[in-house]
């Protein structure tokens, strides 16, 4: 009886996967444009970014904290990249390395201040959000960098697989696999999770929790910077407003994906592929709602309703599978 239902079916990812498939079916039948090459390509780019942003938030949620500075950090890193390429003429590959290092450094600041002062990551990142964004605006004077090397911007509009898929999506999916590997198959990944789940127990078991928390923030900065680079490539320029005022536009997608994906907000549990599926689901619904033409002013309303329905359905699935796995 216990083995009747495979383990994967019991997971949140399975529920999400089913939902994604259902929505793909609904939208393909009920709208014209959904399966068009242009639309799928566009979707792949949006999804790519949402996944990356979601992952960047996920790794801080792992510690039981939050990273409100995510958007500000990503934009700052992207602007830094723009400056490197346009003003300094640094080659693309080196720029990317520098940007990722810069993002990790800003993440390190978040982590270091959080761990050392004991002030909550919520407040610390609330403050650094303001600070990073302020410095970015000050230093760039809100000027965009738009004379970026063509090789770089072309990458953002490259079309693969019979022009259906953006290479950005491949980067995001690869990142998912790398993170999955880290969390599942490495010593350090396990320690990150343990530290997030119960810091006291982890510390007494010989794990340096402070260091793990700082790593999580650095990883978050790294991923946010990567998202910044991807967005720069997609837009073809590094723009101060590309994540909205203070980077706010990134915050909701950043929460939605991991939370839908089953990442535990109290820390200690991550689901990399859940986050990926969460991002895909939200993007699909958003896109589908525009296509179905419910009236744009109502898009948000229906998005909310569908999200609510999705989490309720998922809960029903959980209930059902647990009920069926009781030994007899």
């Amino acid at each position: 009886m216990n083995n009747k239902i495979p383990n994967f079916v019991k997971t949140n990812q399975f529920g999400l996967l089913i939902l994604v498939i259902v929505f793909i079916c609904i939208f393909s039948f009920s709208t014209d444009g959904f399966t068009s090459r242009f639309n799928i390509y566009a979707l792949s780019r949006v999804v790519a970014l949402d996944i990356m942003i979601g992952l960047a938030m996920m790794v801080v949620i792992l510690t039981g904290g939050l990273n409100l500075s995510l958007g500000a950090l990503g934009v700052s890193a992207a602007m830094f990249g723009g400056w490197c390429m346009e003003s300094m003429g640094i080659p693309i590959s080196i720029t990317i390395i520098l940007v990722l290092a810069f993002g990790s450094f800003l993440g390190w600041i978040n982590g270091f201040v959080t761990v050392r002062t004991g002030v909550h990551s919520f407040i610390v990142t609330l403050a650094t959000m303001s600070i990073y964004f302020g410095f970015m605006t000050l230093l760039t004077e809100a000027e965009a960098f738009r004379k970026l090397p063509e090789a770089f911007t072309d990458f953002g509009s490259l079309k693969l697989f019979n022009k259906y898929i953006s290479p950005l999506l491949i980067i995001s999916v690869l990142t998912c696999f790398v993170l999955y590997y880290i969390f599942k198959y490495t010593d350090i990944g396990r320690k990150l999770i343990a530290a997030g789940a119960n810091p006291d127990a982890a510390e007494l078991s010989g794990i340096s929790v402070d260091r793990m928390f700082i790593y999580c923030h650095m990883l978050s900065g790294f991923l946010a910077a990567l998202a910044g680079i991807m967005l720069t490539a997609r837009i073809g320029a590094a723009i101060p407003s590309m994540a909205g005022h203070l980077g706010f536009d990134w915050l909701l997608p950043a929460f939605l994906a991991p939370v839908l994906g089953g990442t535990l907000l109290s820390g200690g549990k991550v689901t990399v592929f859940g986050t990926m599926l969460g991002a895909i689901l939200v993007t699909l619904i958003n896109n589908g709602l525009y296509l179905i033409d419910v009236g744009e002013f109502w898009v948000r309303f229906f998005l909310g309703i569908i999200l609510l329905g999705a989490v309720l359905l998922d809960r029903a699935r959980e209930y059902f599978t647990v009920k069926n796995s009781i030994v007899s």
Partner: protein, 322 residues
């Protein structure tokens, strides 16, 4: 004295007093009646919003939809008066009813499904805001009765605005609720430890629904107060509430994982944030530096306040374990 030192609001109180003295030494305009009036206005609006979030923090949850509820009530309130020519009182009552209903929906779904309130209110944030936009199509309502406008502008004595009355009453009631009633204590107990409080016999359903209903009502009041203040019902009301609503209670020592909030310290947190943002204007900070200063000031204030409890706070999580 040592009992005083232990209070969450004590450190903040000191920061506020010294901060204010320092600012008024440099800029006497800071304590001019008009400035105090302006300060009180901005404090009173945020106070209600912060309380609306605080009560949810007390039970160890988050309400991302406070702003959306406030906005929905604000435009319903003005819409009823403009489009249906309703008089003020019924419009206020319906506004409160909407807030109550929104809160009830949040609470009911959260407690019945066991899904984290963060997710539920994230979804309802879209729903409430979506209704707001769907109804208004982004157009503000302008026809506000004179009485409402008057309430938003008039002063009682000296620099004290009428508008501050309701927030003060709410703050007092909230203090009583959280410190002197079983309901409030049960909310805190629930926030402290869900499992234990259930074993003690505290009903989760009741606690969670009550907290969300109160939160919804407060958000509704906040929305309507903003209408009084702005004298128009724009669909954007509430959009900028989310972070301040968390910041004030947290600066006031609330633990986001639940079970610890302090009404007075939250009020001080609101005042602190208002003073900081006002100081940035008064000192004519170059707009390009404003964000940077704001960030550092928040950190500084929290450092000073938190210094004494620095070790205890070390790994508190944002969310309670479920």
């Amino acid at each position: 004295m040592s009992a005083l030192l232990k209070k969450d609001w004590f450190g903040l109180g000191l920061v506020l007093i010294f901060g204010s003295i320092l600012i008024s030494l440099f800029k006497p305009a800071f304590i001019s009646p008009f400035n105090l009036y302006v300060l009180m206005l901005s404090v009173s609006l945020m106070l209600v919003v912060a309380m609306s979030q605080m009560i949810i923090i007390a039970i160890g949850q988050m309400n991302l939809s406070v702003g959306a509820i406030g906005g929905l009530v604000a435009i319903s309130f003005t819409g009823l008066m403009e489009v249906y020519s309703m008089s003020i009182l019924p419009a206020v009552l319906i506004g409160l009813l909407i807030g109550l209903a929104c809160g009830f929906i949040n609470g009911y779904i959260t407690v019945k499904t066991g899904i984290s309130a963060f997710i539920i209110t994230l979804a309802t944030l879209y729903i409430f805001k979506g209704m707001n936009l769907g109804i208004t199509e982004a157009q503000p309502f302008y026809e506000i009765p004179e009485a409402v406008k008057f309430f938003g502008n008039a002063k009682i004595f000296g620099p004290i605005p009428y508008l501050v009355i309701i927030p003060i009453i709410i703050t007092v009631l909230m203090w009583i609720l959280m410190n002197r009633t079983s309901l409030g204590r049960y909310m805190l107990a629930y926030g402290n430890n869900v499992q234990s409080s259930e074993l003690i016999g505290i009903s989760s359903t009741k606690i969670v629904i009550y907290a969300h209903v109160i939160s919804g009502l407060l958000a509704a009041i906040g929305g309507m107060l903003v209408v009084c203040r702005l004298q128009l019902g724009t669909p954007n009301i509430g959009d900028s509430w989310l972070l301040p609503s968390f910041a004030a209670p947290v600066i006031g020592g609330a633990i986001l994982a639940g079970g610890k909030v302090d009404v007075i310290a939250t009020a001080f947190g609101v005042i602190l944030v208002s003073i900081i943002s006002q100081a940035l204007v008064i000192f004519k900070i170059d707009p390009f530096f404003v964000q940077i200063f704001l960030g550092f000031m928040i950190l500084l204030a929290v450092f000073i306040n938190r210094y004494r409890e620095y070790r205890e706070e070390r790994r508190t999580k944002v969310f309670s374990d479920e």
